[in-house]
């Protein structure tokens, strides 16, 4: 069963360096972040072995949030081979996120 990856400053770059990844920047106090939490969990299962579904707790990993200029959460970024290729701000439906992943997976 697929599980999302909890990213930290130590493994952030290496984890995203290869393949397609989705990164959900969130925090425990954020309502819309909590709203999409079960969506992220389902995506982690659906894309197991195909794409890396990741989360960054911006409360604990402030350096990453600053590096990527995060000013609103949830922000969902898409990476391909280490490069940020797309981002969306605000709660999204599972379908909207899956469509973006599918497009990147080709």
């Amino acid at each position: 069963m697929g599980k999302y990856i909890e990213l930290t400053g130590a493994d952030f770059k290496e984890t995203l360096s290869e393949g397609v990844s989705l990164v959900d920047f969130w925090a425990p106090w954020c309502g819309p972040c909590r709203m999409i939490a079960p969506v992220i969990e389902e995506l982690a299962e659906d894309y197991d072995g195909k794409a890396k579904i990741c989360k960054v707790n911006t409360d604990e990993e402030q350096d990453i949030a600053v590096e990527f200029g995060i000013r609103s959460i949830p922000t969902i970024m898409f990476f391909k081979d280490g490069e940020m290729v797309d981002q969306i701000v605000g709660a999204q439906s599972k379908q909207a996120l899956a469509d973006k992943l599918d497009a990147l997976l080709g």
């Binding site: 106090w29 922000t75 701000v89 909207a96």
Partner: protein, 314 residues
Amino acid sequence: MAILDCAIIGGGPAGLTAGLYTTRGGLENVVMFEKGMPGGQITNSSEIENYPGVTGEITGMDLMTPWPAQCSKFGLVHEMVNVTRVSKNGDLFTIHKEDGTTTDAHSVIIGTGSSPRRAGFTGEDAYFGRGVSTCATCDGFFYKGKDVAVIGGGDTALEEALYLAKICNKVYLVHRRDTFRSAPNTVKRVKNTENIELVLNSVPDEVYGDNMGVTGLRVKKSDGTTREIEVPGVFIFVGNDVNNQTLIQEDGSFLCDMNEQGQVIVDISMRTSVAGLFAAGDMRIAAPKQVISAAGDGAVAALQAISYVDELLN
């Protein structure tokens, strides 16, 4: 899939209460469609002072957390999918979902609520998520010790200005009038908060910035002069627009009668112009836009839906 007794669209206070009342009241096959975790827009709110019986410092998220479990105890099923359209053919409703599947239902309670309105000034959309925000509890954290501006003069604007004043160095409260249409107690608290500066008789003209995001806001005063406010964050609370997209049919018309503001016309029992379709919460006409009234609507709609389904099937 079997035909649902009742389909509930939306998982805020209205939808959840409708779910509680329909299932507890005896409808057996009830699904609440909500694209993510239920709770609704109120989970963005930093403080709830006016939900009866709930006292102490409580956030919108705290208030809503126990609701879904209470509903599932009575058999409410949550389907985590976005509904794109509700249509009706004969006596049967069809719920069209974003994943391309459909579900049929004998009755529908729609409570898709509202979303924060954009104020409509230059730069607002371009910098949304990069300094412009509509959720202080979500994004206030990123402005710890910094200066921010809040746009608006209603309850939400004032409550969130108070919340931001605790985190930020300074809050500029930009309001187009010189009086507030907020609860007197809240106005008093705002006026007594040292690090809130009232920028009255002023409207936002432009938010500007660089490639990292917002760096400032220009406001226009009613006398025609302008003022530059150097802030990295601008929070906008200027009301809400109803989410009525799911009621739009393939030919562009609405499933039921709406008013000019796009709100669903209902009677005192939350009945719409279409038999078996009920609307509850922020999206109905004359909605007070309060958790308590949305929940009340949900209960009223649920009791009506139970009678409707009973008569239809028996």
